[in-house]
């Protein structure tokens, strides 16, 4: 059983971090993770991480919201109980656009945030960071 060894390093400037990351990668080591106090653009590709598919998930959630809204309202007002409101037809689609839109956004936003929390394993619990300064000014 091979023993995995981790080496940690701390940097004070992202301008130093970048070449370091590159060098480590070039040397054939796998970088487990880099903790930074703010997002550093390009670091993910420098580390060889693949792009997140959160966008796609958001799109699917949004479409679900649209379908839910149109489907439910259509069912409720044209099938379940037809009510004549102000002479409008039972299937009064233009009047449903606002709610459809809102539900699209709501589903997409809530879905994405939940997915994000799930993927990142974030939840309201206490978790100490092994390096407190990595949320301040070190990398």
């Amino acid at each position: 059983m091979a023993v995995k060894k981790f080496i940690t390093g701390s940097f004070y400037d992202e301008e130093v971090l970048f070449p370091a990351v590159k060098k480590v990668r070039r040397a054939g080591y796998k970088i487990h993770d880099v903790f930074t106090p703010f997002p550093i653009h390009g670091l993910d590709s420098a580390m060889g991480l693949r792009d997140t598919s959160l966008h796609t998930a958001g799109f699917i959630y949004g479409i679900t919201g649209t379908a839910t809204a149109v489907g439910f309202i259509t069912w409720a007002l044209t099938v379940d109980w037809q009510i004549n409101f102000g002479g409008k037809p039972f299937f009064a689609l233009p009047a449903w656009i606002p709610i459809t839109f809102e539900l699209t956004v709501l589903f997409a936003a809530v879905g994405m945030v939940l997915t994000f929390c799930y993927l990142c394993q974030l939840a309201p619990f206490v978790k100490d960071h092994f390096n407190p300064r990595s949320t301040d000014d070190t990398f």
Partner: protein
């Protein structure tokens, strides 16, 4: 990838003073970690006092009915919906700053977006009070939700603009909250990691959801922020559009207009920015954050104010023109008799609106005025007074004299409980804001650090220092390696 490209020196620095990352952390966390100042306590207690007045007012209204307000058979909505629209409008600036400006990559937003987003959430909370408590039977408010019930297949009226409001406001609140809180996570983690006291560690530990700052997380976080911003942008436009539909889809002259959606959105941005100005001018002073919320921020915001103020002005003039050009007597009456006529019962309110919203912001064409804090503060209040009157004018002066002259109303002035309710929402708003400024970083830490090199004063000077190796080049190399 422009990470290490510095910004043009022509642009003024967004962060002043000689700052490094740690200094930024120290500066922004200081108000949170220090004991609250005397000023904070005074403000907080006044807010709580107002909140209590508001709660009493609402209790009176629930106990004894909407008759506690001075609305009548002709004026069904008065201060209640005026205040609702006003608060919703204010709420728009936060999302606009954080979402639209994020999409437009306006770096200056970082200094103010956190506070603005918080303001959005609190303003929407205040706004939401009005449509709830203005109901005659609040305890049945849940009827607006399409839930399966014992009354058979009875759903709700999806055709009603008021129901659209229910969805729009709740969605807006939810999305704004998510957007704001997801942005807060890294900063809360910073506070957690800096915490000395046990309760603080616990509190921020729970609140930060165990954020670590892992690159993978940051990557997803960035994606999330971008998509949420993309969603929030049409959302913010839709919300005030839908609020305007409350009026625009009706038959009341003065409400029934197609111009309302863009006009309401512009008005919302206008009033929202004014409210952000009010808060920032106070916050930077009270919390000593002058170096992060700079005169430049104030200047840029004032530019937006004069722009949106002028848009609103054009909307007013368009309305007047259409009222005349349409030759529609009822429309004409609503505008030229109910509003533009100073001798009509509510003529004065129209002129207050015009004065505050259209004329007074024009002084912001002058940079001297834009960068003057006193003028800015005064103007920000004036704009919000004007925007309040805009809603009052739209709601009350339309409905008090509409089609049948027989039903034209007596003079409407609010009762003490209507005023109390409004004051109460101020109490709620500022109580929340004071708590927020005490327990949360009012400036987005991570984002400030992110732009520090581009826009920090001390980094600006190092323009000539260019990194040795391009990141893009490196990335390409890596790609080849994998093949």
């Amino acid at each position: 990838m422009s990470l290490l490209r510095y910004e043009s020196q022509v642009r003024p620095a967004l962060v002043e003073g000689d700052k490094d990352y740690h200094q930024v952390t120290e500066d922004i966390c200081r108000p949170v970690e220090a004991k609250p100042s005397k000023l904070w306590w005074i403000g907080f207690l006044i807010s709580v006092g107002l909140l209590i007045f508001g709660i009493i007012s609402v209790i009176m209204e629930i106990m004894y009915g909407v008759g506690q307000w001075n609305l009548n058979k002709t004026i069904g909505w008065g201060w209640d919906i005026t205040n609702f629209v006003w608060w919703v409008g204010i709420g728009h600036a936060g999302t606009l700053i954080s979402a639209i400006l994020l999409l437009f990559r306006q770096g200056w937003r970082t200094g103010v977006n956190r506070a603005a987003e918080a303001m959005t959430i609190f303003a929407v909370m205040c706004a939401g009070q009005f449509p709830i408590w203005h109901m005659g039977r609040v305890w049945d408010a849940f009827f607006v939700l399409p839930y399966p019930n014992t009354r058979g297949p009875l759903w709700v009226n999806f055709n009603s603009p008021l129901l659209w409001d229910v969805f729009a406001i709740s969605t807006y609140f939810t999305v704004s909250l998510l957007f704001w809180y997801s942005g807060l996570l890294p900063d809360l983690a910073t506070l957690r990691d800096r915490a000395k006291k046990k309760w603080r560690k616990m509190f921020y530990g729970v609140a930060s959801f165990g954020w670590t700052g892992s690159t993978k997380h940051w990557q997803r976080h960035e994606a999330l922020s971008l998509v949420l911003a993309g969603l929030a942008t049409p959302l913010v436009l839709s919300v005030h559009t839908i609020v305007s539909f409350d009026f625009a889809t009706s038959v009341v002259p003065g409400w029934h207009t197609t111009i309302f959606p863009p006009y309401f959105v512009a008005g919302a941005v206008f009033s929202g920015f004014a409210m952000v100005q009010t808060l920032l001018v106070i916050t930077r002073k009270v919390l000593g954050l002058e170096e992060y919320i700079t005169i430049e921020h104030i200047n840029v915001m004032n530019k937006v104010i004069v722009l949106t103020g002028s848009i609103v002005g054009i909307a007013y003039l368009t309305e007047l023109f259409m009222a005349w050009y349409s030759a529609q007597p009822y429309e004409n009456f609503a505008f030229f008799e109910n509003r533009l006529n100073l001798n009509s019962p509510y003529g004065w309110s129209y002129f207050i609106m015009m004065g505050c919203n259209v004329l007074s912001p024009q002084i912001f064409w002058f940079k001297k005025m834009r960068t003057n804090l006193t003028v800015t503060f005064f103007m920000s209040i004036l704009v919000n007074v004007g925007m309040w009157f805009e809603r009052f004018v739209i709601i009350v002066t339309s409905v008090y004299r509409d089609y049948l002259p027989s039903s034209w109303s007596t003079y409407y002035t609010p009762s003490i409980w209507e005023v109390g309710f409004y004051m109460g929402t101020f109490g709620l708003f500022f109580t929340c804001y004071f708590l927020f400024s005490k327990f949360f970083p009012v400036i987005a830490l991570a984002e400030i650090k992110h732009i520090l090199k581009r826009s920090g004063e001390n980094y600006k000077e190092k323009m000539d220092v260019i990194d040795k190796e391009s990141v893009d080049q490196f990335a390409e190399e890596q790609l080849h390696d994998h093949h």
